[in-house]
């Protein structure tokens, strides 16, 4: 059963470039980027019990650093990518120290406030970030001399990065450290009594999630070749959080499915009407009220029941 599922998934990931047109290949690339972003947020929300409403900070800052370094300061893509990921991870280390002074709602409010500060900065500091006009005319890198300009080559690139990211996050979660993280989520006091350092475990997870958020930001700016303050906005953080919760927080594949659904919905709706934000809000209400555990756990519970398993 598991192997059939894996084969179907692999098939659906490998097929688009062969059969589908450019539009769908591009959509698939965007889904992969959103999936990495949602998976990194899920490390905090699902496995760490830290609900962050400011995860767009890492995506946006990595994208802005790379955009600025390549377009304005003449850096090569390799150096720019390294510096932007290093910078984003350092920022996550700093923000983690601040936000982890609190937990629960306090943590949520602090991450939201921090990300809003960055958003405001991107808008107002227009001689650096170009403000509301965004930074346009960016280029994609060509790793090992291979151009990524065609939709198909970019899709392969994104697929490789996404597979690697998923593997790394799976290892992270299923390692001994991942178990201690889940322990800290559920029973912080007992974990502390056992000699673990809950703060350090949370902080390290925060930094790791920021790192992968930064990676998704790099892919984001490579894909769009453009960056605008909206990628730092609460809407951007909220879309990712919705993907995590809709897909099922604390499951490995769920957030990827949720992120794909949110992205498809956004693309589909934006083609017909401009009311994406309102729909996003309504979907939030719907998911929280009707399907609080998410789609993937809901479906797996259903299949378990169909096969006559317990529950």
């Amino acid at each position: 059963m598991k192997w059939i599922g894996a084969a179907l998934l692999a098939g659906s990931l490998l097929l688009p470039p062969i059969f589908a047109g450019d539009f769908y290949v591009n959509l698939a690339s965007q889904i992969l980027i959103a999936a990495i972003f949602a998976l990194s947020l899920n490390l905090l929300v699902g496995f760490g019990g830290m609900t962050s409403l400011g995860h767009a900070s890492y995506l946006g800052v990595a994208a802005y650093i790379s955009a600025l370094l390549t377009s304005r300061y003449g850096f090569g893509h390799g150096a720019a990518a390294f510096l932007s990921i290093a910078g984003t991870t350092a920022m996550a280390a700093f923000f983690g120290v601040i936000a982890l002074r609190a937990s629960g709602l306090g943590f949520l409010m602090i991450t939201l406030a921090l990300s809003q500060v960055l958003w405001g900065l991107a808008y107002r500091m227009s001689n650096v970030t170009n403000g509301d006009n965004g930074i346009a005319g960016l280029t994609r890198p060509s790793p090992f001399g291979l151009s990524l300009d065609s939709p198909i080559s970019f899709y392969w690139f994104a697929l490789i990065v996404a597979t690697f990211a998923l593997a790394m996050m799976t290892i992270f979660v299923s390692s001994a450290f991942g178990s201690s993280l889940k322990g800290v989520r559920d029973q912080p006091r007992r974990m502390a009594a056992l000699g673990f350092n809950p703060w350090l475990i949370r902080w390290f997870t925060f930094v790791y999630a920021g790192f992968w958020g930064g990676i998704s930001g790099l892919l984001y700016v490579y894909y769009h070749k453009y960056i605008h303050p909206t990628s730092l906005s609460t809407t951007s953080s909220a879309e990712a959080l919705l993907g995590v919760i809709a897909g099922g927080s604390g499951t490995l594949g769920g957030p990827a499915v949720g992120a794909a659904l949110v992205l498809l919905l956004k693309n589909y709706v934006s083609a017909y009407l401009e009311r994406w934000n309102m729909l996003l809000g309504l979907v939030f209400l719907l998911i929280v009220l009707v399907m609080p555990t998410g789609i993937v756990p809901g479906v797996s519970r259903l299949t378990a029941r169909l096969r006559g398993g317990p529950r």
Binding site: I245, V288, L289
Partner: protein, 288 residues
């Protein structure tokens, strides 16, 4: 000298506005343990309400408008609390997400109804002429605004500390289950406090209109300021909201005037200091 005095007054009036916004947020958080992310949207609704009402009825009194908008926004907040939030009892995360969703819905509805251009709200005619004190010229409206915030602070203080209703609210803040056990209708108090907080934010939006004018994104500009005020002053503390509002008002106004590009960074420094050395905020009792 004129610069410092004018900017000083501007910062006080911004602080007053922030108090009207964050006192409700803080009250709601204190009683319901709910981070109401719709609060910025409630404020913005008030401003748009004022823009429409005062431009279509020329010379409409701003106090009447503020009262009307306060009641209207309180009604919207009450409906939201009764229909949605009560279904999510004991689900803090669900409640926050729902208020976030609601803020998206309201701000997009405002964009749909009022369009993307900013709409100025007229300053009341009898407050348009400047006031002269010791040879300095002050915009009268801003002075009045500071007075409003102080009056609101006193009224809220009396309500919370000196009335029976306030005693029930304080009991609910301190120990919700005990309060229920002695017969205080806590869930009705929730609705009442949510309406009150929303109403103050809506009225604050009207009063802020002549200074800020109504524009899409006003909610996203105001909400983080309220969050920072509350984190700074201490969540659930009225005094904290009052002091925090004026601190942030001063920092933000002078920051914008002196270093326009770095205003946001400067804003975030006091927050970091408070979080580092006193995580429960200056006057807070509840750990966040």
């Amino acid at each position: 000298m004129q610069f410092w005095i004018i900017q000083g007054l501007n910062s006080l009036s911004l602080g007053g506005l922030l108090f009207l916004l964050s006192s409700g947020f803080s009250l709601i958080f204190g009683l319901m343990r709910l981070a109401n992310l719709t609060h910025g949207a409630f404020f913005m609704l008030g401003t748009y309400f004022a823009a429409t009402a005062m431009r279509s009825y020329d010379g409409l009194n701003i106090w009447v408008t503020a009262l009307g908008a306060g009641i209207a926004v309180a009604a919207i907040g009450g409906l939201f609390e009764r229909l949605v939030l009560t279904r999510l009892k004991n689900n803090q995360l669900g409640q926050v997400l729902v208020t976030l969703g609601m803020s998206f819905i309201i701000s997009d509805a405002c964009l749909m109804l009022w369009g993307g251009d900013s709409i100025p709200v007229p300053t009341p005619q009898d407050l348009q002429s400047p006031t002269r004190v010791f040879g300095f010229v002050f915009p009268t409206y801003r002075l009045v605004l500071v007075g409003c915030a102080i009056a609101a602070a006193i009224l809220l203080y009396v309500l919370i500390e000196r009335t029976r209703l306030g005693a029930m609210i304080r009991a609910g803040v301190d120990d919700r289950q005990m309060a229920r056990a002695v017969g205080i209708p806590v869930s009705n108090l929730f609705t009442l406090v949510f309406c009150l907080g929303a109403g103050i934010a809506g009225a604050g939006g009207v009063l802020g209109g002549p200074i800020l004018s109504a524009y899409p994104g006003l909610d996203a500009d105001m909400l983080p300021l309220a969050l920072i005020v509350v984190i700074l002053g201490g969540i659930g503390s009225l005094l904290g909201a009052f002091v925090g509002s004026f601190i942030i008002g001063i920092i933000y106004t002078f920051g914008t005037a002196l270093f326009p590009e770095l205003a946001y960074i400067i804003l975030f420094l006091p927050m970091i200091f408070v979080i580092a050395f006193r995580p429960q905020g200056l006057f807070g009792r509840i750990g966040a």
